[in-house]
């Protein structure tokens, strides 16, 4: 509002001020896009329109960019997520206390069991077992989406750390399932040896006081990428073992917010965040383009797993845990937990990534992707449930 008023005031003034204002407006708009991870849905929206109007040119474009974006670029995204997690669980971090992990882990386990069961039951009951190998997609939670939805609805409750832990644990399970792929080299030994070299290099650089992220990235990251690729692991996770060697500061709040650009560490995180936002835009552009009439059983299976299986599984598991003696977090009742469970039903980014990881190009992948995109409706369900249950800030 303040920015808007400032923009109006300057726009009414001199040309010199107008240029300043245009820059200012762009800065504010881009800042909003970056802070809210909105470049990804924008990329996805463009891809959807493009694929459904000029499919041949879209798929030709997407095919060319799939490898650099999904296999190389996304390594930066998972590195950033790892960085966020490492800083959150450090002493002084938002998720440091292990007492906060008990019930969310139970919820994650319940959500996993519920979503995977519903997915597999759906594909088996409908006799589309060709889709069964895609069950890891049911493990995908878009943590950033859940975070922002809950930050809007329940900003001052214990919902955020609860959802973060449950979401991260769920996604880690998915990553562990999706990561193994076909062995590229004849043996695991060469890739494993290369991985050891990457870790040793990172250790030496850390001990030598190297602070530049880009040094870690260009040397250790490159070696690690080839190690992952050759050993048959998804190379998008290649920076995950390198990130713990970087310099960290504990994060107390606003896990996904771009840090202030006030010192060397934060400057690098700022740059990193900008890079990841660009990559996520490309990720959405390359992967979210599906022809909408390609929906089929896989679409409904993913939707049922995310919107029904996961929330029901989470709430059931929490119910059992509470009956067994665990306590609900302070300021969180069952109504809040219903909203949290629905907010975590969106798979979007992770579901799209897992879809490209477990299924090759083809109609099966396409129908699954439509389901992954459609799980975004979980955010609306969460907001609707909050209004219905009269909780939070959207009453």
């Amino acid at each position: 509002m303040r920015n808007h008023a400032m923009a109006s005031r300057v726009l009414g003034g001199h040309h010199a001020h107008r240029r300043l204002t245009a820059g200012r407006v762009w800065h504010d708009v881009s800042g909003h896009l970056f802070d809210r991870f909105l470049l990804l849905p924008i990329g996805a929206g463009i891809a959807l329109v493009w694929a459904n109007t000029r499919p041949e040119s879209y798929f030709t474009f997407a095919q060319k960019l799939a490898f650099p974006v999904n296999e190389i670029g996304m390594a930066f995204f998972f590195a950033l997520i790892t960085q966020e997690i490492v800083e959150a669980v450090m002493p002084g971090g938002a998720l440091h206390s292990w007492r906060r992990w008990g019930l969310p882990i139970v919820a994650a386990a319940g959500g996993l069991a519920g979503s995977v069961s519903v997915y597999l039951v759906y594909v088996n009951v409908n006799y589309v077992t060709v889709l069964a190998p895609a069950w890891p997609i049911a493990c995908a939670i878009d943590v950033a989406a859940a975070y922002y939805v809950l930050k809007t609805i329940l900003p001052r409750s214990g919902a955020l750390p609860f959802a973060l832990v449950a979401g991260i644990v769920t996604d880690i399970v998915g990553v562990l399932v999706v990561a193994p792929r076909h062995l590229v080299l004849a043996t695991h030994a060469a890739g494993a040896a290369l991985m050891m070299v990457a870790l040793a290099l990172a250790g030496v650089m850390r001990a030598s006081g190297v602070r530049s992220f880009w040094a870690y990235l260009s040397i250790c990251g490159t070696v690690s990428w080839f190690a992952f690729y050759w050993v048959g692991l998804h190379p998008a996770f290649a920076l995950v073992p390198i990130v713990p060697f970087l310099r960290h500061e504990p994060r107390r709040l606003d896990l996904f917010a771009d840090p202030p650009d006030d010192d060397a560490t934060h400057h690098f995180e700022h740059e990193w965040n900008a890079l990841v936002q660009g990559i996520l835009f490309l990720f959405g552009l390359v992967n979210a383009g599906v022809i909408l009439r390609g929906y089929d059983a896989g679409t409904w299976a993913v939707l049922a797993a995310a919107l029904v299986g996961r929330p029901v599984g989470m709430l059931a598991a929490i119910g059992i845990a509470v009956a067994a003696g665990l306590h609900l977090p302070r300021r969180l009742g069952w109504r809040e937990l219903v909203v949290i469970a629905l907010a975590m039903s969106s798979g979007f980014t992770f579901a799209l990534f897992f879809a490209t990881g477990v299924l090759a190009t083809g109609p099966a992948q396409a129908e699954i992707k439509i389901g992954a995109l459609a799980t975004s409706v979980g955010a609306l369900l969460a907001i609707g449930a909050a209004r219905l249950l009269r909780i939070g800030s959207v009453r």
């Binding site: 499919p55 589309v128 083809g362």
Partner: protein, 290 residues
């Protein structure tokens, strides 16, 4: 006399309402030619599939095809051993008994393990190739076009010196079916290979209709996904549509003799609904539509 007149009149009226008998085939039925039938989306196990099976049996007496290519969704619903009997072995029993060999591709409703079923002659593979005289067939699994399969297709097509190269798989890369239509993502990866290595004809199913597409970049495309399932009135004709039939179930008969491929689409009632001939183009081709 009056009774005879009325009987004759009744006979004429009734005969006029009966479906026409199978037409004389335009297929040349030459000795030594490669003859085969095409069925797609067949495995419903319902009456329509059995009726198509009977028409195929009838066609086999005048057109002794030696093999049947199956375009996927060879089995809908439950896929227990008993289903292989009711949805495959019984509908085509006379053909199987006559030594006709079925070569299947996998559709989205097929259990991937069906590749192990002996009656489908897939050799346990998702994708494979086989030949009959001057014709080589390339059978793909279009559910997932993974890099390994693409490498295989590239290598197999490159290696083939056969006069005719025919590809078939489940999902059509050209189709005017209203429910599914063309799978453009598959087209982007497969069509360049078809053009580069001179594939002559491509058969696919998935859309539950019969359609012949005008040749695209020198390759002829057919959709024949109505040998069991049917989506009545589903075709949305475009400039690429050469012919279509979406009123009833159908299958195809094909004969390759020398440089000519003769085809006929036959309805569940035995009516020829489309026919024609495709002349083999010199191979390998460069790009450019016909």
């Amino acid at each position: 006399m009056r009774r005879v007149f009325i009987t004759v009149l009744l006979w004429i009226v009734v005969a006029g309402r009966v479906e026409p008998l199978p037409q004389t085939t335009p297929l040349p039925v030459q000795t030594g030619s490669v003859k085969f039938a095409v069925i797609g989306d067949s495995g419903t196990g319902d009456r329509a599939q059995y009726e198509v099976g009977r028409q195929m049996e009838s066609a086999h007496t005048r057109f002794p095809f030696e093999l049947v290519i199956m375009l996927g969704d060879n089995m809908y619903g439950r896929q227990s051993p008993q289903d292989f009997v009711t949805k495959f072995e019984q509908p085509y029993k006379p053909l199987i008994s006559a030594g006709v060999v079925f070569y299947a591709s996998l559709g989205n409703h097929d259990n991937p393990s069906n590749r192990l079923y002996e009656g489908f002659h897939m050799g346990g593979e998702r994708y494979y190739t086989f030949a009959r005289r001057s014709v080589r067939f390339f059978v793909l699994d279009s559910n997932q076009m993974d890099p390994k399969q693409l490498d295989w297709v590239d290598g197999a097509l490159k290696q083939s010196q056969d006069a005719w190269k025919i590809c078939y798989f489940h999902h059509p890369i050209y189709s005017d079916g209203g429910r599914h239509g063309s799978d453009v993502q598959l087209r982007v990866v497969l069509e360049p290979l078809f053009v580069k290595y001179g594939v002559n004809v491509v058969f696919a199913g998935h859309d539950h209709v019969y359609e012949r597409i005008k040749p695209q970049k020198g390759v002829a495309y057919f959709v024949a996904g109505s040998a069991g399932e049917l989506r009545k009135g589903d075709i949305r004709p475009t400039a690429a549509t050469a012919a279509y039939f979406d009123d009833d179930q159908a299958f195809m008969l094909v004969e390759i003799a020398g440089d000519d491929l003769f085809f006929e689409a036959v309805s569940r009632t035995g009516r020829a609904v489309d026919s024609g001939v495709i002349r083999r183009q010199p191979t390998p081709r460069s790009t450019g539509g016909l």
